[in-house]
Structures are given as structure tokens and as C-alpha cells.
């Protein structure tokens, strides 16, 4: 069956896959809010939310319901259209990234092979990079449209932070790309499946990428764009109800996606040690691999939370100094060393 030259079965497969990826990222992000509060509780010798449902597992639903039913306030002098566009863009860019991540190998149904990756484009990493860069617009437009000087200042703060750390992130990735020789995420995972994980070859690169991922997600200790207490709130100062919720939710989706990205780029993605030696094959291996990816991702998410409840926030000048004077030179040095080693190995 075809329509306008596209195979309908193919389209259906992709639509299902996209819905699944979206649903999974939303659900994981939802339970990240629960996890965050639990981890915060445990670290502070409390028990965290435990009232809504067993272990407080229905807490995210309760929170979401609360946000939806709260009064929606749009400031009188705000630019209405852009005010609504801001959180929508934040959500959109957060959800777009999941499209190129390989969530698993291929599943086989009868004689159709279903790849668990929405789009294996050959510039996968650059795509993620671009979409992350686009995330700035949600912050900037939201902050500007509120017509409040504090949200505007916070938006500028956030945008310059994200742009600054994007540079270091890109530079740390280049070293990885020199090693792998491909921009396709699927191929990077397959290479790690055959050999060692990339973190073995690129420890410094991974470390830099990790720090930049913290900054890109606006997570503590880099959460100045939304500093609640000492900086008058952030770019979402004028937001209320679910529009505020979308901003915060987008942050959790970003955290999930960047955790999955780190697992994919540096920790073997859906592959795990002795994957090809345990004697399983086909769909079971794929499902196991998916589980491995999710396990790694959740470990990273836990790390994000752990760091948030350990470290205090940077001052803004320290943040900029770290980004431009420490991370970028380190990333350049890492690039240089990697290039030199590759050349030395080739000769």
C-alpha cells in the first residue's frame, strides 16, 4: 500500500515508534520529578513523597493535575503570542532530540525488521547539537515576552550560558568523532559493541561532555537561569500553571535525553559487555539491550540528581570563567592529543 509515493506500512511503523519514544520520554521525565524528590529526601535524611499511592508513585500525576488546574496568568503587558510560544518551544525542542537516538537494535516480526531508532540520519550527533541549540529560543522568547526586566535578564543569562557551554560541548565531541569517524549514532554504538566503550578512549572528553550536559540542561550547579532564591527567579518568573510546568518538564526531558545520549556516545548505548557471547539472539537480545540502555540512562539521571543535591550553585562570573577559560582549552587539548594519537597509530 502506498500513498503519494510513501509506503503506508513504513509510515505506520515510524509513527508508532515516534509515539513510543515520545511516551517513554514523557513518562520517564514525569517519574524523574518523583525520583528527584525522593533522592533529595534520602540525601537529606528524609523519605520524600510517600502519600500519593504506594511509595508516592502517583505523586507526578497529582503534581500535573495541580498544575493544570491552577489559574493561568498572562501579564497584561506581555506579548501574548510569544508568551505562549516560549514554553511550547521549550517542550518541542526537548522532545525532538529523541528522534535520532538508537534505543535498541532491530526487532523482528515475522519477516519485517523494525529498527528501534526513528531516523538513522548520517549527521545524528550534529542534529542533536542543533536541536539543543534551538532550546535557547524557548528561554529567550519566554523571558522576553513576559515584559519583566528580571525575566529578561534571566533569559539573557540562560542564553549566554547555553551558547558558551555548547562550544565546549562541541569541541569535546569533535575528539570523539575523530575516533569513531562517523556522525551516525547507530554506527557509534555498533563500534562500541565490537570493541571497548568510548569512555575508555575518551575519559577527558566524557568528563567535559558531562559538565557541559549539566550546563545545557540548566541543572545544578549550573542552574542560574532558574535560580529560585538569590537571583529573583529565572526566565519563567511570570509564568504560572501548566506553562510553568512545561518549562520545568522540558528540563527533565532534556535531562533524560542527555543521559541517554551520554550512555549512547560513551557507554556503549544498547550494547553491554559479553553481549554477543551469552548465546541469546534476535528479539530477546534486543530487549535486553534496550534494558541495558535504560539502566545506564537511569544511572546518569541519578547522577544528575545526586550532584544537584550536593553542590552549591556557581556564581555567574565563575560559570563563565569555567566555560571559557577551563573547559574550552581543555577540550582543545583533548582534541589535540586525540588527533596526535590517531596520527601516531596510523603511521
Amino acid at each position: 500500500m502506498t500513498f503519494l509515493g510513501i509506503d503506508l506500512l513504513f509510515a505506520l511503523e515510524k509513527i508508532l515508534l515516534i509515539s513510543a519514544v515520545l511516551a517513554v520520554s514523557l513518562v520517564v521525565a514525569m517519574y524523574c520529578t518523583w525520583g528527584e524528590r525522593k533522592v533529595a529526601g534520602w540525601i537529606q535524611d528524609r523519605i520524600g513523597p510517600d502519600r500519593a499511592g504506594p511509595l508516592g508513585l502517583l505523586q507526578p500525576l497529582a503534581d500535573g493535575g495541580k498544575l493544570f488546574f491552577k489559574e493561568e496568568i498572562i501579564p497584561t503587558n506581555a506579548n501574548r503570542g510569544l508568551f505562549i510560544l516560549g514554553p511550547s518551544l521549550a517542550m518541542l525542542t526537548a522532545c525532538m532530540t529523541g528522534a535520532v537516538l538508537p534505543w535498541g537494535d532491530t526487532l523482528t516480526f515475522g519477516n519485517t525488521q523494525v529498527s528501534l531508532q526513528v531516523a538513522d540520519i548520517n549527521v545524528g550527533i550534529l542534529y542533536i547539537f542543533g536541536v539543543v541549540g534551538l532550546g535557547v529560543y524557548g528561554i529567550m522568547i519566554g523571558g522576553w515576552a513576559s515584559n519583566n526586566k528580571f525575566s529578561l535578564l534571566a533569559a539573557v543569562r540562560g542564553a549566554s550560558q547555553i551558547i558558551s557551554y555548547e562550544l565546549a560541548m562541541g569541541l569535546s565531541l569533535i575528539a570523539l568523532l575523530m575516533l569513531t569517524g562517523t556522525l551516525s549514532l547507530k554506527e557509534i554504538v555498533e563500534q562500541q559493541r565490537a570493541g571497548y566503550w568510548n569512555v575508555v578512549y575518551q575519559p577527558l572528553g566524557f568528563f567535559l561532555f558531562l559538565i557541559c550536559a549539566f550546563a545545557e540542561c540548566n541543572r545544578a550547579p549550573f542552574d542560574l537561569p532558574e535560580a529560585e532564591n538569590e537571583l529573583n527567579g529565572g526566565y519563567h518568573l511570570e509564568y504560572s500553571s501548566m506553562k510553568l510546568g512545561f518549562f520545568l518538564f522540558a528540563e527533565y526531558i532534556n535531562m533524560f535525553i542527555s543521559s541517554a545520549l551520554m550512555a549512547t556516545l560513551y557507554f556503549g548505548g544498547y550494547s553491554f559487555p559479553y553481549m554477543d557471547q551469552i548465546g541469546l539472539d534476535g528479539n530477546w537480545l534486543t530487549i535486553l539491550g534496550m534494558g541495558a540502555l535504560f539502566f545506564k540512562t537511569i544511572c546518569f539521571i541519578f547522577f544528575f540528581m545526586w550532584v544537584r543535591w550536593t553542590l552549591p550553585r556557581f556564581r555567574y562570573d565563575q560559570l563563565m570563567k569555567l566555560g571559557w577559560k577551563v573547559l574550552i582549552p581543555l577540550a582543545l587539548v583533548n582534541m589535540l592529543i586525540t588527533g596526535a594519537l590517531i596520527l601516531w597509530q596510523q603511521s
Binding site: 510569544l82 549527521v123 529560543y137 529567550m140 556522525l183
Partner: protein
């Protein structure tokens, strides 16, 4: 009509409308926002041509970096219609004349240029990153390096200007 044509027509309409929006809209922030949408539709055009690398670079560099800086500056300037300086009449005429001249030149070039039709079967891989890299680093390596020196000098210049205070 094939799917490609439909998408192409939609994208082209979006491009033209947003390009007009850049010039027409009174609010500079709206101008910049339509420019962003314009860049996005151009990115989609690149994807349609299977030039993925160009598309993503356009996406990252223009949409992700340059337009953010534009938006930055315009938002901080806080331009209002009251603050807008009165334009002098001769400035309008000068603008119209120079714009018209540019239009003439472009139409002249387009008329005389021979539009080689791209053979989609053989040339469809030309925009992929591997081929582009080969062309850039083998055939055009000298211009590439020279342009990088240009960027370096611009960066150093910016640092020097910033250091002066």
C-alpha cells in the same frame, strides 16, 4: 503531484511569507522571529536536496547561534515605535535606489546564468558529509584554510577590542 512536490510548495510558501515578514513587520523582534522561521524552512529545503550536512550546519550556525545573538541584541535594545528616529526623506530614496539596483543586478545574473539541472540520481550524495569533506579538504583546501585564518583574525580582533575597555 508527488509528496516531494507538495512539501516543496509548502516550504516555498513558508519561506516567501516569512521573508516578507522580515521586511514588513514593524516590531523588530517579530522580524527576527520570522527570519528564524525562514532559516528553518531553508534548512528543510537542504534536507529535501539530501544535503544533510549543509542543512544541519545551517541549522546550528544560523538558527542556533547567529539568530540567538540577533535576538539578544534586539531584546536588550528595547526598541519602541516612540524611540524610533525620524527617517529623513533622502534616506528613503537612497534605500530605494540601492535596493532597486541590487534587484537589477540579481535579475541580470539570473537571466544570463545557465541553470544546469541537477541529476538527482547521480548527484544526490553530493551533500553528504563524506563527499563534502573530501571536496573541502582535497580540492579546496587552500581557500578553506585561508577562510579559517580570516575567522581567527576576527576572533583575535574581538578579543583585542574587548580587552581595551
Amino acid at each position: 503531484m508527488s509528496l516531494h512536490e507538495i512539501i516543496f510548495i509548502i516550504l516555498s510558501v513558508v519561506s516567501i511569507v516569512t521573508a516578507l515578514g522580515v521586511i514588513i513587520s514593524k516590531n523588530p523582534v517579530n522580524s527576527v522571529l520570522s527570519l528564524i522561521v525562514l532559516f528553518f524552512s531553508i534548512t528543510c529545503h537542504y534536507v529535501m536536496l539530501n544535503a544533510q550536512f549543509l542543512a544541519i550546519v545551517n541549522f546550528i550556525v544560523y538558527m542556533g547561534a547567529i539568530m540567538v545573538l540577533f535576538l539578544f541584541v534586539i531584546m536588550l535594545l528595547n526598541l519602541n515605535s516612540e524611540l524610533e528616529p525620524q527617517k529623513r526623506n533622502w534616506l528613503k530614496y537612497a534605500g530605494a535606489v540601492s535596493g532597486g539596483a541590487l534587484l537589477l543586478v540579481i535579475t541580470g545574473i539570473l537571466r544570463s546564468a545557465s541553470m544546469a539541472s541537477l541529476d538527482m540520481n547521480t548527484a544526490s550524495d553530493i551533500g553528504l558529509i563524506k563527499n563534502l569533506g573530501n571536496v573541502l579538504f582535497k580540492q579546496y583546501v587552500v581557500p578553506f584554510e585561508i577562510s579559517s585564518i580570516l575567522f581567527l583574525s576576527a576572533m583575535i580582533g574581538a578579543v583585542v577590542l574587548g580587552k581595551k575597555d
